[in-house]
Structure formats: structure tokens, C-alpha cells
Amino acid sequence: MHTLKKTRLAIFVGLLPSLIIYVGVAILPIILSLYYSLFNWDGISAKVFIGLDNFGDIFQDDIFWLSVKNNVIIMLTGLIGQLPLGLLLALLLNRSLKGNGFFRTVGFIPVVISSVMVSLIWGMIYNTEYGFLNSVLGVIGLEGWQRNWLGDPDWSMLSISLAYIWQNCGLYMIIFLAALQNISSEVNEAAELDGATGLRKVILITIPMIRATILVTVIYSISNSFRVFDLIQILTGGGPAHQTEVMTIYMYNNAFLSRQFGYGSAVSILILLFSLIVVVIANRVGREKD
């Protein structure tokens, strides 16, 4: 029914403006980056063509692989921390709970608050000598658990992950909330007539109903994890000794601080490539059951 010529024209007209802006301003820069990645270039002097040498150098740099590993940690905590927490919040706040408007707003605060405040607050929570977390552990008699949370290489990524979950779970909460609105009350009532309540209903009825949205959030969460920058930059700056560097910070340090713009561009191409691979796999796995 949708194959008329007129329809085709309508599709073309509808998609064209988005495409022009998007390709011109978002895709073109990446093509330029791909081009720069083939050069030894400080951004100002003449470019020297070096083929794929930048990529070779990157693959031989242990710090790069460390940053890849850290990205994987962030991605996994995003998937197993943010999404379930966001879904749990959405499920709780979707029903008529007293004060749910308040909680919905409050849940969203971490998403909108400035990174300056995020840095100050989490710095205070994790501070070794005067921090909130170590104080609480001291009060409840767990002195042995006290740590230099952000400075100890064994714990720093975990500490960052916790802040990352906190910062973004509100985002997924509202996406899930919106999705839950689309489950009609008839479906809910039918489920309850069948005797499905509580957790059983959630697992058997609700989650399958919002599967498409869950896939959306999974992919969104993966893409966010590969682009994480501000949070780590303000909490540890990638330190100590590169231990908490992720690929974007590695790229920024090389391109803007050490002024190896060609090398930095090559890193950014790899970020794009790696995240693309993961997203394609996730998409395949997620769509398979359709």
C-alpha cells in the first residue's frame, strides 16, 4: 500500500533536510578525521603522509589497550548497573505511588546537574581521609574496607563506575517511563485476570511489551559508554598514571595536549569502529528473537 510514486516523493522530501544537515555537519567531520589520521600532523605545520603508521603505533601502545579495557568496564557497568536500576525506578514510579512526581524529578537531577558539582560531590564521597564513604565504613566497624577509592588503581575504575551509574540512571528511567505509558491498561488488566501479578507480571508481560525500548536503551547505553569523557576527566583526569584513562581521554590528550592531531584523529576513528562493532553485535542479538 505504501509503494505509490507519490509516497516515494513524500519520503524523499521528508528525509532530505535531516540528511543534508546530518551528513554535512556530523558525517563530513568524521571523513575529514579519517583523512587526517593518515598524516603526521600537529594541526599547524605541513602534513606528512604516513599511511597507516598512526594505527600501527596506537596498536603498539599499552596505554591505548588499557583505555580500551577501561571502556569495556564502563560499558558493562552501564549495561548491568544503569539499565536495571533505571527500569526498576520506572516500574516503581509508573504506578500510583504517593509522591511519585517528586521522585521522578529528583531522579533526573544527576542528569542535569553541572559536572563541576558532580566532581565536588563525588570527590567528597570518595576522599580518603575525610570522605563520606570511609567515614560510614569507619562508623559501622568496617575500617578494613576503607580505601583510597579514586587513587588506588585496583579500585579507581570501580569507583568511577559507581558515579557513572548514579549520573545516568535517571536518563534511562525517563525513557522507560515513556515506554511503560504505551502499555495499555487493557493489557495490564488482562494479565491480572490471568493471575499474573508482581514480579511474575513484570517478567512475563511488562518486559516483553517494552522489548523494543530495552533494545534502544541497550544501544544508547553502549554508545554513551564509548563516548564517556567529562565524568572521568573531572574525577581523576585519567590518572593516576593512566589507570583510569578511556579512549576519548586518550584521544583528547594526544590530539589537543600533545598536539599530535593526526594520531588523535586515528584514535577517534578506532573509537568509532570499536563502538560500531559492539553496537552491531548487540543489535543482531537483540533483534534475533523477533
Binding site: H2, T7, R8, A10, I11, G14, S18, I21, Y22, V23, G24, V25, A26, I30, Y36, L92, L93, S96, L97, F102, F103, R104, T105, V106, G107, I109, P110, V112, I113, S114, V116, M117, I121, W166, L177, A178, A179, Q181, N182, S184, E192, T197, G198, A212, T213, I219, Y220, S223, F226, R227, F229, T248, M251, F256, F261, S268, I271, L272, L276, V279
Partner: protein, 276 residues
């Protein structure tokens, strides 16, 4: 709806209470800090201020040049937001409800935008804007904001629109309505919760965006709020209390906007069902 056991409510409120506490403390800390003198804050960051320094707010307003920047931020945020959501919704509609050649390729292309590391595009975008002679104009920000957030907008909206039953448009087609009419009066209303979601996301991203604004705008008369908020930090000095005052001011529009849209977020289906 079946009644839940009291245990459920105890658990739910306990969980939500702890969660809320964690989220409110930063705001509370920021607001308290914004009323202190710099010396009070440096000496004891947790203590309450002796005298409320309301003057911090007027000083912050002045240093961050909010007379000008506030309006610019509103303008750029809203124009980008409207353009992005309108174009994105339309694109998502076609991508989700129609089969045509290149549909998969186009969808993949738009999705790619969610994976682009923003910092990598800084210098290329600067060059592009320079070549288009758009440097130092509102458009130099509106275009990147639109381009980069189209991806997420399309992605979320496509996911929603795809989940609607296939026969939804048929009543429209039978009435002889055109495609754009179907989009406007059938699909768009029931997508409202999702639209509210992407509107909020777009608003936040545009409102807080810093990096592009930093390099693409040079005229004081065109700068945006995040640039003003950065004005408080030197290299080894900072006026944190003034900055907190500025941050508090900057947070107000987001909160208002969120509260307004929250209704759409939750009541969307009801409204949609009536219209549909």
C-alpha cells in the same frame, strides 16, 4: 489494580528515599555554597553560611554576563531543539513505518552519529564552519547541535514508532488522508511520551553544551551560558561560591522545563488514546 502488601511499600519508599537523598545532596550543597563567601567556603565547605550572601547572585549574573548569554542560550537551545525534533520525528516516521530501498542503510547512517566522539569533530567542524563563512553566528551552533542530536532523536523515536501495531495508519488511508496528515494527526499524538523524552534530552544537551560554543563563537553578543559559567575558573584560582550561584541560576530553566514536560511524559498515552 491489585493492592500491594505493606512490605512492598516499605521497601519501595526506603529505596526511593535513599535514592532521592543521593540526588538532592548535590543540589542542596550547591545552593548552600552559593550563599557563602569564598573564604567561608575555603575554610569549611560543609558549614552553613553566617550571613546569606545574596550579592553572590548579582555578582555571578554580572561575571557570567547573563544579561546577554542567558537569552542566547534560550534562543539557540530552542531553535535547535525544535528543528531537531521536527526533522527527527519525520525521519523516524518514514524509517519505522515504510519499506523502501536504502531504508536499512539510512537507518544505519543515522545511528552512526550516536557513536561519533565529539572531541574528534572539533577541528573539522571549525574548518567547515569557516569555509561556509558561518563562524561566529547562531547558525554555527544550531547546525552542529541539530546534526549531532538528530541521531539520538531518530533512534529513540524510531524505536517507539516501530512498536505501534501495523494497522494503525489504515483508518487514515481509508479516509484518503495524505502521508503527512497521517504523520501529524495519527502517529505524532501517540508518540507524545517519546517526543517529550527526546525534547528533554535535546534541551539538556543544548543548554549545557560547551565545547562547540567555546571555539565557534567569539563575539560577546552571541555567547551562551556555559561559557559564562566557565568564567569563574582561572588556572590555579577559582571563585567557587560565585560559580555555584551561576550554576543555580542556570539550573532553573531546566527544572522548569522538565516539570512542564513531565506531564506529557506520563499522560501522553491517555491523550493519545482519546485522539486516536
Amino acid at each position: 489494580m491489585t493492592k500491594k502488601s505493606p512490605l512492598y511499600y516499605i521497601f519501595a519508599y526506603l529505596f526511593l528515599g535513599v535514592f532521592a537523598l543521593f540526588n538532592i545532596i548535590p543540589i542542596f550543597y550547591m545552593i548552600v555554597g552559593s550563599f557563602k563567601t569564598e573564604q567561608e567556603y575555603a575554610a569549611s565547605p560543609f558549614a552553613l553560611p553566617e550571613v546569606l550572601q545574596f550579592s553572590n547572585y548579582s555578582k555571578a549574573w554580572e561575571v557570567a554576563n547573563m544579561d546577554v548569554y542567558f537569552f542566547n542560550s534560550l534562543l539557540i537551545t530552542f531553535i535547535s531543539l525544535i528543528v531537531t525534533v521536527m526533522l527527527g520525528a519525520l525521519a523516524a516516521f518514514f524509517l519505522s513505518r515504510f519499506e523502501f530501498k536504502l531504508r536499512g542503510a539510512l537507518y544505519g547512517l543515522f545511528l552512526l552519529g550516536m557513536l561519533i566522539p565529539i572531541h574528534a569533530t572539533l577541528i573539522p567542524i571549525f574548518m567547515i564552519m569557516k569555509n561556509l563563512s558561518l563562524l561566529d553566528t547562531y547558525l554555527s551552533l544550531i547546525l552542529p547541535y541539530t546534526a549531532f542530536h538528530l541521531s539520538l532523536t531518530i533512534f529513540i523515536l524510531e524505536g517507539f514508532m516501530r512498536s505501534f501495531p501495523r494497522d494503525l495508519e489504515e483508518s487514515g488511508v481509508m479516509d484518503g488522508a495524505g502521508i503527512y496528515r497521517i504523520f501529524w494527526s495519527i502517529i505524532l499524538p501517540i508518540t507524545r511520551p517519546a517526543i517529550a523524552t527526546v525534547v528533554i534530552l535535546n534541551f539538556i544537551y543544548n543548554w549545557n553544551e560547551y565545547l562547540f560554543a567555546l571555539v565557534l563563537i567569539s563575539s560577546e553578543s552571541l555567547k551562551t551560558l556555559p561559557l559564562g559559567i566557565a568564567n569563574f575558573v582561572g588556572i590555579e584560582t577559582a571563585s567557587l561560591t560565585l560559580q555555584m550561584a551561576a550554576l543555580t541560576i542556570a539550573l532553573v530553566p531546566i527544572i522548569i522545563f522538565y516539570l512542564l514536560l513531565q506531564k506529557q511524559l506520563v499522560n501522553g498515552m491517555v491523550a493519545g488514546a482519546v485522539k486516536g
